[in-house]
């Protein structure tokens, strides 16, 4: 079996989620690597958009910033933040990848403060465009290590909307209809959200992990499918493209 690290595994899984012809709003790092890998494998017509204004660039290398020159290199348009966010708001962007210091069972994210907001233990960057992307893009996804300190019962701060309090709570919040968290991809498993309760649900296990491994590294009770398939491992081709064409500098996948 091919040797790969956990970041490579997550990027490959994420890339497979992005079907050809879809639009995805990405940031830097792993999400951008996943989108670039998708373009070089099954989804050559995947359209990448960056919050700061870049639309459908021909990325010559991994951007350092979502606003650097790579993000609109040979692009269809170098617009503005409002070009991108208004396109998201009127339903043109299918996917987005977001992250945070904490995530709860409804896929809500915290990137604002650890500890009390009034006197935080750690002040983090805040929403940035994450709240907007998560509100507007049809399917929000997260790539993150499976870790009790990240998967928490209660967020210190709800920066970015997932399914909020679950059930119909997002539907009733005023946020655009039928958009919300789609998949959570970790080093151990892939999760979606149970349609009624909107609670996080394990739908496949990455090679070498059991449901117990996942639950032991999660701060809340996870739902699961009765029969849990094994997430297909990265293929040689996927890994070789990722390592040689997407991230040759190993900035994201590491050394």
């Amino acid at each position: 079996m091919t040797d790969y690290n956990q970041m490579e595994m997550m990027i490959v899984i994420a890339a497979r989620e992005l079907e050809n012809g879809a639009t995805v709003g990405v940031g830097t790092g792993a999400p951008c690597a996943a989108a670039m890998l998708a373009q070089k494998t099954a989804s050559p017509d995947l359209v990448i958009m960056f919050e700061a204004g870049g639309i459908s660039p021909d990325l010559p290398e991994m951007p350092i910033s979502v606003g650097d020159s790579r993000t609109f290199c040979k692009a269809s348009m170098a617009g503005s933040m409002s070009t991108i966010m208004s396109s998201c708001a009127r339903g043109f962007v299918d996917y987005t990848f977001l992250g945070g210091a904490q995530i709860d069972m409804y896929g809500n994210l915290n990137s604002t403060t650890i500890g009390d907001w009034e006197s935080p233990k750690v002040r983090l960057p805040g929403s940035g465009g994450a709240n907007d992307f998560a509100s507007f893009c049809w399917k929000m996804m997260v790539m993150t290590p499976q870790d009790k300190r990240r998967f928490v019962e209660k967020l210190d701060f709800l920066t970015t909307p997932g399914w909020l309090e679950g059930g119909d709570s997002r539907k009733n919040s005023g946020l655009p209809e039928n958009a919300g968290p789609h998949k959570i991809i970790t080093n151990m498993a892939v999760m979606d959200f149970e349609p009624e309760s909107k609670r996080m649900r394990v739908i496949s296990l990455n090679p070498g992990y059991t449901f117990e491994d996942v639950q032991d590294n999660c701060g809340f009770a996870l739902l699961r499918l009765e029969d849990l398939p094994v997430t297909p491992a990265p293929t040689r081709e996927e890994l070789s493209i990722l390592r040689t064409q997407v991230d040759p500098g190993r900035v994201v996948i590491g050394r």
Binding site: D58, S76, A89
Partner: protein
């Protein structure tokens, strides 16, 4: 929000952004060749009963060729955004293709006078009208483009323009000041004429933008007519020049001189004698029917209309007029 006042005018289109989102969710995002003839584009994307938007400002960078084709194909029962509309409305009125209109500016041709045809059609009672200001229609398009159901503005208040519009008045929760709130306007189909586009629909133009960017981003279906199609590589070389992104666009139609007899910045000036001829012909219904037969219904395409009215020599003359190298002072 507490509605303080409400205009009596109809809102002809649904301002619900979730319905617009559901439509755009299914619209293709793939960069594919969208070039086709204008005739096919109008046949494919304009359905009887649609709400129509026309870009440009009256007779400036206005998709006149598209207006001719819509009339030639005898489209019916369209709604129309009468926004800074002059010769475009004059053509659409001649074809009686619309039966409801959001009226901000129409009937007139600015300093040139009033179109008898547009006037009679609106006075006939066959057309349902809502009143707005030009900026109100721009803002309504911008609301749809932003994916919100309304935007606030501070004009129209206190006037009959407001009372016969579909706007409402409400107090700002931050300042307590009364605002006019105007509903989002998303045309079913719109036409915008530009200088250059690639085969995918990435479009750019020179000169003033009027409200074309709002219109393009607000419209469910969008047809770009352009003076010339350029390679995508040319667009990608300077992506900050792109004003309309390809994913809004359904069709790209190369129509040289497609804004004639109007002005195309840095390309050709308006043909004032021909515009005067239009207005003169409108006076006698029979003569006008004959004029329309010769200039629209009897023309197989817009090129035939241009050939009828001076062809390339006329276009070269209008180019000299645009650059004021013809020695003529208007």
């Amino acid at each position: 929000m507490d509605v303080l006042e409400k205009g009596s005018g109809a809102v002809f289109t649904d301002p619900d952004p979730d319905k617009l989102r559901a439509f755009f969710q299914t619209k293709s995002r793939i960069k594919k060749d969208k070039t086709m003839s204008l005739a096919l584009a109008v046949e494919t994307f304009v359905k009887d009963g649609d709400y129509l938007g026309i870009g440009g400002f009256g007779a400036n960078r206005t998709p006149i060729a598209a207006c001719h084709e819509i009339v030639r194909q005898k489209k019916k029962h369209l709604g129309f955004a009468g926004h800074t509309s002059t010769h475009d409305m004059q053509i659409l009125s001649a074809g009686r293709v619309y039966d409801r209109i959001d009226m901000a500016y129409g009937v007139g041709l600015e300093a040139r006078g009033l179109s008898g045809c547009s006037r009679k059609y609106l006075e006939s009672g066959e057309v349902k009208v809502s009143e707005w200001s030009n900026y109100a229609l721009s803002i309504r398009l911008q609301a749809a483009a932003m994916g919100v159901p309304f935007l606030p503005m501070r004009s129209m208040l206190g006037t009959d323009t407001f009372r016969f519009s579909g706007a409402v008045a409400a107090n700002c929760p931050f300042t307590g000041k009364k605002m006019a709130l105007v509903p989002a306007l998303s045309p079913d189909v719109s036409f915008v004429h530009v200088h250059e586009a690639d085969i995918y629909g990435n479009a750019r133009f020179e000169g003033i933008a009027v409200a074309d960017i709002e219109l393009a981003n607000a419209s469910k279906r969008l047809v770009i007519t352009c003076e010339r199609i350029v390679p995508h590589e040319e667009i990608a070389r300077e992506p900050h020049k792109t004003q309309i992104p390809y994913f809004m666009v359904d069709a790209v139609c190369e129509v040289p001189f497609g804004a004639y007899p109007g002005t195309m910045p840095n390309a050709y000036f308006s043909d004032e004698p021909h515009l005067k001829e239009w207005m003169a012909e409108e006076r006698d219904p029979e003569a006008f029917a004959q004029f329309l037969e010769e200039n629209i219904y009897g023309c197989k395409d817009f090129q035939a209309y241009i050939d009828r009215n001076g062809g390339m020599e006329k276009m070269r003359q209008l180019r000299r007029r645009e650059f004021m190298t013809d020695g003529e002072a208007e």
